[in-house]
Amino acid sequence: MNRQTADHATLADKFNEDEPRVNWHDQTLWWVRAKRDRIAWTIPEWEQLRDTASSIKLNALGNLHDYLLQFEQQAQQNGAIVHWAADAAEHNRIVTEILQKHGVKRMVKSKSMLTEECHLNPHLEANGIEVIDTDLGERIVQLAKEPPSHIVLPCIHKKKEEIGELFHEHLGTPAGNADPQFLTAAARLHLRKEFLLADAAITGVNFAVAETGEMVVCTNEGNADMGAHLANVHIACMGIEKIIPQRKHLGVFLRLLARSATGQPITTYSSHFRKPREGQELHIVLVDNGRSRQLGREDFRNSLKCIRCGACMNTCPVYRRSGGHSYHNAVAGPIGAILAPNLDMKDYADLPFASTLCGSCSNVCPVKIDIHQQLYKWRQVLVKEGYTSTAKTAGMKVMTGVLSAPGVYKAAGKMGRWVMRAFPGMVNNRMNPWYKQREMPVPPAQSFSEWYKKNKKST
């Protein structure tokens, strides 16, 4: 995939050219957030559950080395073949080799943000292997040749009319039909054929249990199961942070995941894959791709607790009004903004700044990642490492120079106010991003300090 060069602000600016569409996007996602709130309130011990989930994940991070070995050993005992990939390229190579060994030309894939992160699809296609994404939302963006814009709701940015058109073009549905029920039925028929034809299936992994070597995959559609139970080769791709210690811990995470994600009590299917089916080959690819590095960053390692529920995106007032693609990364939104700089500080230096630090993300996060605090900390790191423009740094230096010297500050402030009163045009121009859509504050005749000096005695 091409790296986008435009930054978040530029892409968000573009997204905002169509205000009714921004309203629609914002309201749709807010509705998901509201559903999450409603169902959370039906669980009086909700906050305790979040605490528990967070501590289990902390334990998993602190024992990751041993848990991974335990998982590998259990999985092998169960008959799975375990692979280790240091980075995206190695992951893609491993998957391709497995498929080539079996002569696979056409395969199905259920949702896996990891394979998005690794850009697996283009790699496979370059090797002559056709990948069919089977999650409805992912299939839609695949047909549209776009990346998903949300980790749980991949085509949340698309209107049903646009989807109707895509289906008309690719699946031969009647032109102008944009009824979700009808389009879903059409996709069901189309993808059933693919499930029946596929030689191999790739699935993601929601949780991998060290104790048992099993993997849990959660879907509402049933696409992971349709793929994995029909194909002769099942490849499960997972980041190394998906490990949880014991089977009983699944109870905690499965109670939180769907409620946080979409406000439903659990996903329709929570499938526990332990052994390959008779005659089937089960491969598990454990992928690092920067995770062990993030583990070493004390301030940021908690981001590895993420269970990819998407709640932080649904609640994020910036995400809702800028769209997933404005984050130009496989994982968008607040969590994407704290994961991406670990992958590439230069390419993603803009993302931690794409936030007001309002903190709503940290409050909805089912594993209590301190997302907004990490955004703040990434800003400090990115500035220190020199990934912000020199102009901005110079401006900041002037600012701190002014603000830490009372005399200079007073003069500057006075002048600023005087200028604004006398010649509003000088600051109220289109070069001033504040003024583009907002009035400047009306400058008062005197500052508070001036007033205080004059009135101190009398108050």
């Binding site: 007001t356 709503s360 603000l403 500050y409 504040w434 400058p443 001036e450 108050t459």
Partner: protein, 251 residues
């Protein structure tokens, strides 16, 4: 009780009436208030932009100004939060720590330290309360809608003591207004859109005045309201809490 009044830079420069209302309100409630001269900025705009390492001088100055007070009170949740979280000085760490523990945002000072239960104020008006994020989520001035926990709101508690105030309900009780410090210019489009949506929620529910604990958010929303030529005004909560009753005004 000696209170040091902390007036953040943009209030000093653009909203002196908020400083005045804060000062008068605290005095009315029996505090001995001083405004240390030579205040500038708490360093928050720099720190939130990733330049916390450049704020040392701001910090030293802040400590010099405020080390001697029993309490430090400021009418801005975000600035107070910044000091609480980030005020450090290797040369004066004990003083810095004392300040971090003794600094209060105005409304929490009123409810938690002064334990105000009634206010001699009257303001017959439909008021929309904007819960600023840094005050609410950072300082805990109000319960957050994301949590499954009992609701409370310190600013609301105080507004309910003001005779005549009618608080309007909102569709989204605590969504961010989009100011966000340098975000308001760096991400102009999203910032403005957030502000427009926030303002629309208040207008839709009939607010005549939008109030809050952070002037920065109010300045942003005011800029939008004025551009829209909406009749709705913004006022800092100190200005409402400091409104005199008719008798006081006449006496």
């Amino acid at each position: 009780m000696k209170v040091g009044l902390f007036i953040p830079c943009y209030i000093d420069q653009f909203y002196p009436q908020v400083g005045i209302a804060t000062l008068q309100l605290l005095q009315k409630l029996g505090c001995e208030v001083e405004f240390p001269q030579g205040q500038t900025c708490c360093g928050q705009p720099m720190a939130n932009s990733g330049y916390e390492h450049l704020t040392h001088q701001c910090n030293s100055l802040f400590i010099k100004n405020f080390a001697d007070y029993d309490y430090i009170v400021g009418p801005s949740g975000s600035c107070v939060l910044h000091i609480k979280d980030h005020l450090h000085d290797p040369a004066a760490e004990p003083q810095a720590e004392k300040i971090r523990q003794r600094i209060y945002e105005l409304t929490e000072f009123l409810t938690d330290v002064l334990k105000v239960t009634s206010l001699p104020a009257r303001f017959p008006c439909k008021v929309g309360l904007h819960q600023s994020c840094h005050g609410q989520r950072g300082l805990g001035l109000a319960q957050m809608s994301e949590l499954v926990a009992a609701p409370f709101s310190k600013p609301e508690q105080l507004l309910r003591m003001v005779e005549g105030v009618e608080l309007v309900p909102l569709d989204r009780a605590d969504e961010c207004c989009g100011f966000g410090g340098t975000f308001c210019v760096a991400e102009e489009a999203v910032s403005v859109k957030m502000g427009k949506d926030r303002v629309a929620d208040h207008v839709k529910h009939g607010a005549e005045v939008i109030t809050g604990t952070d002037v920065s958010c109010l300045m942003h929303m005011e800029g939008i309201l004025r551009r829209q030529h909406a009749g709705v005004k913004v006022m800092h909560i100190a200005e409402i809490l400091n409104q005199y009753t008719d008798e006081q005004a006449n006496s």
